[in-house]
Every structure is written in structure tokens, then in C-alpha cells.
């Protein structure tokens, strides 16, 4: 049995994830879509916090909500008039998209509900920063120095690629 407060918090988080992700793909103003995406990302960070992954929640807010959404907003302001509505969808395209999404929802939802055992939330100590850092920097079993270095090279390649692609000739 859980406390009423945690259940209310869970319901708010789940509802905001569902509502804001539906709104982000159905609204016709592109700047509003970016704003709803921001709220959905915040709700995801709240899920991470409620599952005791504080570091992950902080990274989610800093990188996604702080970095990526700002990039989106800047590129939207650079490429389109923010007040404009996008053109109405052709009904054929909308039907095909709806069929794909709903078929996937039904199949995966059926599999989940029929196969997923109801595991209760096991007790876990929240992971402290020291352990995160040691695991990220270690070279032993289950430690992640090599992917960390690989991703730093990837980010460098991404910076150079971004500059080369977007610069004025």
C-alpha cells in the first residue's frame, strides 16, 4: 500500500506525459509543439526523480529541456513564422498515421498486459554521485570508460559536422 501523495503524484505525471505528447503531435502551431515537447520532457524527468534516479533526472532537465528545446525554438524562429498554422492534413495521410499508431498501440499494449508480470517496486538505495562517477570512469567489469571516450569523440565529430554543414559559403 502506498501513500496517497505518491499515487496522486504518479497520476499527475502519467496524465501529463500522455496529454502533452498527444498535443505535441496534433497541434498545428509549430512553436506550441516545441513547448508541449518541453512539458513532456519535464514529466519524464519527474518519472526519473520518482524512481530514485536523481542524477538521470538532472541530466534529462539539463540536456533535453535546457539544450535541445532551446535548439528547437531557435531553429523554428529562424525557419518559419511562429504564428502561422501548418497546412491541414490530407485525410489519407492522417488515416495512415492513425492506423500505424493505433495498430502499434494495440499490439504492444496487448503483449504488455498479457505477459508483463506485476512486479512491485523493489527497494533500492538512490545512487550517489560517487558511485556514478566511479562507474563511468572505471575499466573493470560493468564500467563504462570506453563508451564515455567514444561518446566524447562522437560529440567532437558532431560539433565539427554542425559547423561545416551550417556555415555560410
Amino acid at each position: 500500500m502506498e501513500s496517497v501523495g505518491s499515487i496522486i503524484a504518479y497520476v499527475v505525471i502519467a496524465l501529463s506525459i500522455i496529454i502533452f505528447s498527444v498535443l505535441a503531435v496534433t497541434t498545428r502551431k509549430i512553436l506550441r509543439a516545441a513547448t508541449y515537447l518541453l512539458f513532456a520532457l519535464f514529466a519524464t524527468a519527474a518519472i526519473y526523480f520518482s524512481l530514485d534516479y536523481e542524477f538521470l533526472g538532472a541530466v534529462q532537465i539539463a540536456v533535453y529541456a535546457g539544450g535541445i528545446v532551446v535548439l528547437f525554438v531557435f531553429s523554428i524562429l529562424l525557419t518559419s513564422h511562429p504564428g502561422d498554422n501548418s497546412a491541414r492534413l490530407a485525410s489519407k495521410k492522417r488515416v495512415s498515421g492513425l492506423i500505424a499508431a493505433i495498430a502499434m498501440l494495440l499490439v504492444s499494449g496487448y503483449v504488455l498486459i498479457s505477459r508483463c508480470i506485476g512486479v512491485a517496486e523493489p527497494a533500492m538505495q538512490s545512487i550517489d554521485m560517487q558511485k556514478v562517477g566511479a562507474t563511468l570512469m572505471g575499466t573493470g567489469h560493468g564500467e563504462y570508460l570506453l563508451p564515455f571516450e567514444a561518446i566524447s569523440v562522437l560529440l567532437l565529430a558532431c560539433i565539427i559536422g554542425g559547423i561545416v554543414v551550417a556555415r555560410k559559403r
Binding site: 500500500m1 506525459i17 505528447s21 505535441a24 542524477f55 541530466v59 523554428i76 500505424a100 498501440l105 560529440l155
Partner: protein
Amino acid sequence: MEKTMLCYLIPSLIMFCCGVYGFITRKNMIAILISLELMLNSVDINFVVFNRFLFPGSMEGMFFTLFAIAIAAAETALAIAIIINVFRSVKNVDVEEVSKMKF
């Protein structure tokens, strides 16, 4: 009422299906990228939830999500650079207008 794994997997599934719908129906390139972010984000939620509920002692899912977030940020930055470049040469970000490999 107990919170089980399903309580977190179902919202993430709905988020992924919204991403699929947006990816198919949108025409603006940036809106397509927004749908892509929704899909990536729901997959991240799944990693974390499986890690938390099935293997609470280990941290594999958390680190996989950490790296996935970094790669998603890199991918978005590069895609936006490409979109701005396309906008500069075609004056449009509509996927149906951009049909020529123009230089």
C-alpha cells in the same frame, strides 16, 4: 494500490505511438524531429523502468539512458544544422517541397 511496471510502461508506450503518428503525418522537418525526440524519450523511460524494477542492484539501464541522451543531443544538433542549410538553399522546410538534391 501498488505501482507496478505496467504503470510506467503504458504512458511510455502511448508516448511512442504519438511519436509514430507525428513522424508519419507531419510535413515540417522540425515537427518530424520533435516526433523523433518523443520516440527516443519513451525508449529512455523503458530502459530506466526495466532497470529499476527487474535489476535494482545494477546500473546498466541508467548508463544506457545516459549515453542515449547524449547521442540524441548530438543527432538533434546535426539534424538542425542540416535543416537550416536546406532552408537557406530552398527557402522551405517542408519535406514535400524538398525533392531535389540541389547544390
